[in-house]
């Protein structure tokens, strides 16, 4: 099964939850893998240093117009919804602006003169790595400045394959990259904080996950720091509370240095085991 660990916003503890959850699952002998889908800012590898096995490159197709064959009819320009074709018919000039191209193929379809061919452009890489006792990591990393990380994310999820447990560390926000990740999960864990900011972001992400029709539950991180509004709201909405992780300065310190609390502290190991059990139960029910 695939579980996405997501939140409306960055900094709530998604990577903290997914890395510790993976560690606990691997200890239990579950065939598991963690896919870092935050392709714009992948951070998982800072906590799990592994041996790189192989790298897959992700490309999009970018059209190239052959001016020798082009009849300057302009249909490709008309069909492009992204202003990615520069067209000056009086000067017999036509050119693709690759940074604006979304790889939709409309221009190739439009061209009657056979003047358009499509060439690959590197969007990013998906890296496979193994560390520790055979634990698997897949990381999507988009090239800086590409229009959308979505093709890299979907490829990373594809590369993760089918296993007993695939954890997807989702990108922040509620726009396309988040949707691309959560849409491919069987269950979604939303990580939040018990503050007005946390509640506001949770309300937005819960609405989005509901729209996608995915079952979900909530992990409240840094519990005890804020107030109880978030629990009241979840109760009203019948959203399951999967786990409360108390705020702990020591854990913040371990994590800041790149350590995994579940690996060094029995109470955290227990906490994340409980979370795993809760997710499996919620998913089945």
């Amino acid at each position: 099964m695939k579980i996405a660990i997501a939140s409306g916003k960055g900094g709530t503890g998604k990577t903290f939850v997914s890395t510790n959850l993976l560690w606990v699952a691997a200890q239990k002998g579950i065939d598991c893998l963690l896919a870092d889908c935050d392709a714009e800012e992948p951070n998982v590898a800072e906590f799990l240093a592994g041996e790189e096995d192989r790298v897959v490159e992700v490309y999009q197709l970018v059209p190239v117009i052959d001016p020798g064959k082009c009849t300057f009819f302009g249909k490709c320009y008309e069909y492009c919804s992204y202003n990615a074709i520069l067209y000056l018919p009086e000067r017999k000039m036509i050119q693709v602006l690759p940074d604006l191209c979304h790889d939709c193929g409309a221009c190739s379809y439009a061209c009657q003169a056979g003047a358009i061919t499509e060439h690959p452009k590197l969007l990013g890489r998906v890296k496979h790595a193994t560390y520790g006792a055979g634990q698997q990591l897949v990381e999507g990393r988009a090239e800086v400045g590409v229009y959308s990380p979505v093709p890299v994310i979907t490829r990373a999820i594809h590369e993760a394959g089918e296993r007993e447990l695939v954890l997807l560390d989702s990108p922040p926000g509620i726009s396309c990259p988040f949707i691309a990740t959560v849409d491919r999960a069987d269950y979604v864990v939303l990580v939040t904080e018990p503050t007005p900011f946390g509640l506001h972001d949770l309300q937005l992400s819960a609405a989005t996950v509901r729209q996608l029709g995915k079952p979900f539950g909530v992990v409240v991180n840094r519990a005890g720091l804020g107030n109880n509004e978030i629990y009241r709201w979840m109760e009203q909405e019948s959203i399951p509370l999967l786990l409360k992780i108390p705020f702990d300065r020591e854990v913040a310190r371990i994590y800041a240095e790149g350590g995994l609390p579940a690996a060094v502290d029995g109470s955290y190991r227990e906490m994340f085991s409980l979370l795993l059990t809760q997710i499996v139960e919620q998913h089945i029910s």
Partner: protein, 289 residues
């Protein structure tokens, strides 16, 4: 007019809490919330909305089931995997559709049309220390960089009309298109970071971005006492880069308490160490014009 952007590589570093605190001190100013994907500043500043304007993020394709002959040409052509065949009908997933219109052009039965996505909007209003422009991107939408540009432009026009000297911009996370839109053409970038490995990593990326635009930057370490070792490494890095480190805000319950009261820490707990440090940051950026 002076534009100051508050930015960090990643979310959760305290940009919004700091923006709100700086916005409620000193002279009247304009605040632009450019985190259009997850805007939170209005929770602390509680603006009174004066006007709300829809923002179109593009369009999505829909199939008229009456006209559809189920030939499947649209599904074959779609490169976004947005068209599915299920229970004897073709449907378009709104969240996957990229609005390229290829399916509409290909359909031999003219069964596909485009509808505009206008669930997003931007608003202007006043708060207790000036004016505010903010926005909300509908879930699953893209074009957040464009919406950020709208917020920037509207805040600039309104500041001119109202005679406001300063625009304070609360930036979006990341180093992608929305962050670039929030940062371009500003006079100063205030980089907020946290003392962690990933925070430091993101600080370096966002500094590169500011340098690329030729914008002078200063650094604030938030929650610096959560890991003093990493905080001092960041301080050394700043010194070597000749990058002014203008504040170290301690981790204090007062910061969270004030947020729970929907107030900024300088308003709710003016005697706290965090408020004192923020006052010094305020002096540094507003009095060194």
């Amino acid at each position: 007019m002076r534009q100051i952007v508050i930015i960090s590589g990643k979310g959760g570093t305290g940009k919004t809490s700091l923006s709100a605190a700086l916005a409620t001190m000193g002279e009247q100013l304009m605040v632009a919330d450019c985190d259009v994907d997850a805007a939170n500043l209005h929770l602390l500043l509680e603006p009174t909305d004066h006007s709300t304007h829809p923002f179109s993020t593009g369009s999505k394709a829909v199939i008229d089931q009456q006209l559809c002959t189920q030939c499947g040409a649209c599904m074959d052509a779609c490169r976004f995997d947005a068209i599915r065949y299920h229970e004897d009908r073709y449907t378009i997933s709104e969240t996957s559709c990229d609005g390229c219109r290829l399916c509409m052009r290909i359909c031999p039965a003219d069964a596909i049309s485009m509808i505009e996505s206008n669930g997003s909007y931007w608003t202007t209003g006043t708060f207790r220390n000036g004016w505010m422009v903010n926005a909300r991107l509908a879930p699953g939408e893209e074009n957040s960089g464009k919406l950020v540009n709208v917020v920037r432009e509207q805040s600039r026009q309104l500041s001119e009309r109202m005679g406001l000297e300063t625009i304070l911009i609360d930036g979006p996370p990341g180093t992608g298109c929305p962050a670039i839109s929030a940062m371009s053409g500003t006079d100063l970038a205030l980089l907020v970071t946290e003392p962690s490995r990933s925070g430091f990593h993101d600080l370096r990326r966002v500094k590169q971005l500011a340098d690329g635009f030729g914008i002078p930057s200063v650094v604030v370490i938030n929650k610096y006492d959560l890991n003093e070792q990493v905080a001092s490494e960041i301080a050394t890095w700043c010194r070597n880069k000749n990058l002014p480190l203008i504040g170290r805000i301690p981790f204090e319950p007062a910061v969270v308490e004030s947020m729970l009261q929907c107030r900024t820490v300088v308003e709710w707990a003016p005697r706290s160490a965090a408020a004192g440090e923020i006052a010094a940051i305020h002096r540094h950026i507003f009095q060194s014009k």
